[in-house]
């Protein structure tokens, strides 16, 4: 019990003194997962729109597949990306293994299905009256999409939050393709909150783990709070 209390005290110290190592890890987590979320958003929204409004054979099965991939295990994504970017893999010459870029790619792939799926739900949940009105007013294809997006913006915002949450909290892919490297420069290191917690706990450095855990929770809480605030406005 004493150890836990001691851990929390030390964790508080690390956070409030803005311990440079801890802060760099937290910042790196945010940068990597935010980049992945932005990339995934740019892919998921058009993809979701095409699937939702399009009519093509196999559309139902495609949606089923996407929904199945919601629970895509992070280590499987890690393994897949590892095989692709390792030196002997098809994209080996790019030398991406053990870089933050590799982690961004893995996290993007990881959250793409759930973000696409939730975008489809968001778009299909729009009141048909809105669609009919837009059609009857003679909206062009682009105008139609822009207005539908406007209508669905809160649901899409929630999608983005879900994607970011899954990206920043995953550890399996991050450790496989990132390698949990602590290098002297910020941009070459691949140690993020989750991989650092895993390492520190296994090495018995409990205070560091608790501090990193608190920060991870605070980020998740902050993002959700920001989203709900916007939605309720």
């Amino acid at each position: 019990m004493y150890e836990i209390i001691e851990g929390f005290v030390e964790a508080a110290r690390l956070i409030f003194t803005l311990d440079p190592d801890v802060m760099a890890i937290a910042a790196r987590s945010i940068v990597i997962s935010l980049t992945a979320t932005i990339l995934a958003t740019l892919l998921a929204i058009p993809l979701g729109a095409v699937i939702n409004f399009g009519t093509f054979p196999g559309r139902k099965s495609l949606i089923n597949l996407i929904q199945t991939l919601y629970s895509l295990p992070t280590v499987i994504v890690g393994l897949l990306i590892f095989l692709l970017i390792s030196r002997v893999g098809p994209f080996g010459s790019l030398r991406l293994l053990f870089t933050p870029t590799a982690m961004v790619i893995a996290q993007t792939v990881l959250i793409l299905p759930i973000m696409t799926g939730l975008t489809i739900s968001a778009l299909s949940g729009i009141d048909p009256v809105v669609r009919d009105t837009l059609y009857s007013l003679g909206a062009t294809r682009l105008q139609f999409l822009v207005n539908i997006m406007k209508e669905a913006r809160f649901a899409i915002l929630a999608t983005v939050a879900v994607g970011f949450g899954r990206a920043i909290s995953e550890v399996g892919a991050a450790i496989l393709v990132g390698g949990n490297i602590a290098a002297s420069s910020f941009g070459s290191s691949t140690r993020v909150l989750t991989t650092a917690i895993s390492l520190e706990t296994s090495m018995g450095n409990i205070p560091e783990s608790i501090a990193l855990g608190i920060i991870l929770l605070a980020i998740a809480l902050g993002v959700n709070l920001a989203i709900t605030t916007v939605q309720h406005r």
Partner: protein, 310 residues
């Protein structure tokens, strides 16, 4: 009240964003051809967990204006990274597998820079009664007592194809057991951790179990452990660390110049002194011995400890 909580959370978020902004602007998260050359090393966990590399890399980075990226993994995994050409240098401790790796043409220019000894550690109470035994006898006794009903003797193995795991298997073999038939899966007394040395020691400590560790990692973790050294004598316990380059003929765009610099750096006189004194002030004894003058004792050719790569 609600407003106040909201404010507090908002403050935390702003603080985080500021930190993110400050750190983020200094360097790009995805480096695009930085001017510094990068050296990628796959290392056995013991060199990492003891923080020896943490001590040496800044010296190297300054001397050679390079950036060192270290992936810490068991020897088995490190060798795989090397085989795929995903790193420039390997630092491992498994002579037999190193020989195979060199013979297959994946590695070149092996240099031995340090050695120490393995120890069998376990709970102070020593339920199997192995204190002071020879390693082979100690292993036999742990297995026997572990397999009797109602015993609380547990052995935690690295179980990760690391150099330490190889050594453990070699000891089982020397004790006359077939590893996969007689040891693995022979009962709850034998548990495979599948993780690094530091993590395995932490696990053994939680379970008050026996484990095989290199002395360096054990000493570095000793402060947090209730485990004591029970067996530390026997020729089989010798543990020799080497560094080698990945063969640029296999992977032409590998960073072979800086890799060569690193291997030569490890056997240089200054670094050898650094290795020999590392941890003495903190642990009262060295974690590693410098290989430079002890090549005969550890049974490696003189060239492997003294001759820099030309």
């Amino acid at each position: 009240m609600q407003r106040r909580t909201l404010f507090a959370v908002a403050a935390v978020m702003v603080a985080l964003m500021l930190i993110c902004g400050c750190t983020g602007t200094t360097s790009d998260p995805t480096p695009v051809a930085t001017e510094k050359q990068q050296l990628r090393i796959a290392t056995t966990t013991s060199l990492y967990d003891t923080k020896l590399l943490e001590r040496l890399t800044p010296i190297f980075e300054e001397q050679y204006d390079a950036e060192v990226l270290i992936v810490s993994a068991g020897t088995g995994k490190a060798i795989e990274y090397g085989q795929n050409g995903d790193v420039d240098v390997l630092m491992v401790h498994d002579r037999a597998r190193e020989d195979a790796f060199l013979a297959d043409g994946y590695g070149i220019n092996r240099r031995v820079f340090a050695y120490n000894y393995f120890v069998v550690v376990g709970p102070e109470s020593d339920p199997a009664g192995i204190r002071g035994m020879h390693p082979e006898a100690a292993f036999t006794t742990i297995r026997e007592t572990g397999m009797t009903d109602g015993s609380d003797v547990v052995f935690v193995s690295r179980g990760d194809a690391s150099g330490t795991h190889s050594k453990e298997k070699a000891i089982w073999k020397a004790a006359g057991f077939n590893y996969s038939a007689d040891v693995q899966g022979s009962g709850d007394w034998y548990q495979e951790a599948g993780t690094g040395m530091g993590a395995t020691l932490t696990m053994a400590n939680e379970k008050q179990a026996y484990t095989l560790s290199d002395i360096g990692t054990y000493l570095a973790y000793k402060g947090d452990l209730d485990l004591v050294t029970l067996v530390d004598e026997g020729d089989i316990l010798l543990n020799v660390y080497c560094a080698m380059q990945i063969n640029p003929e296999k992977y032409p765009d590998i960073n072979s110049t800086v890799a060569k610099d690193w291997v030569n750096f490890m056997i240089s006189e200054d670094v050898q002194k650094e290795i020999a004194s590392f941890g003495v002030d903190q642990y009262g004894q060295p974690l590693f011995y410098a290989a430079r003058n002890d090549w005969e004792k550890i049974g490696v050719p003189q060239a492997e400890v003294k001759d820099p790569i030309p």
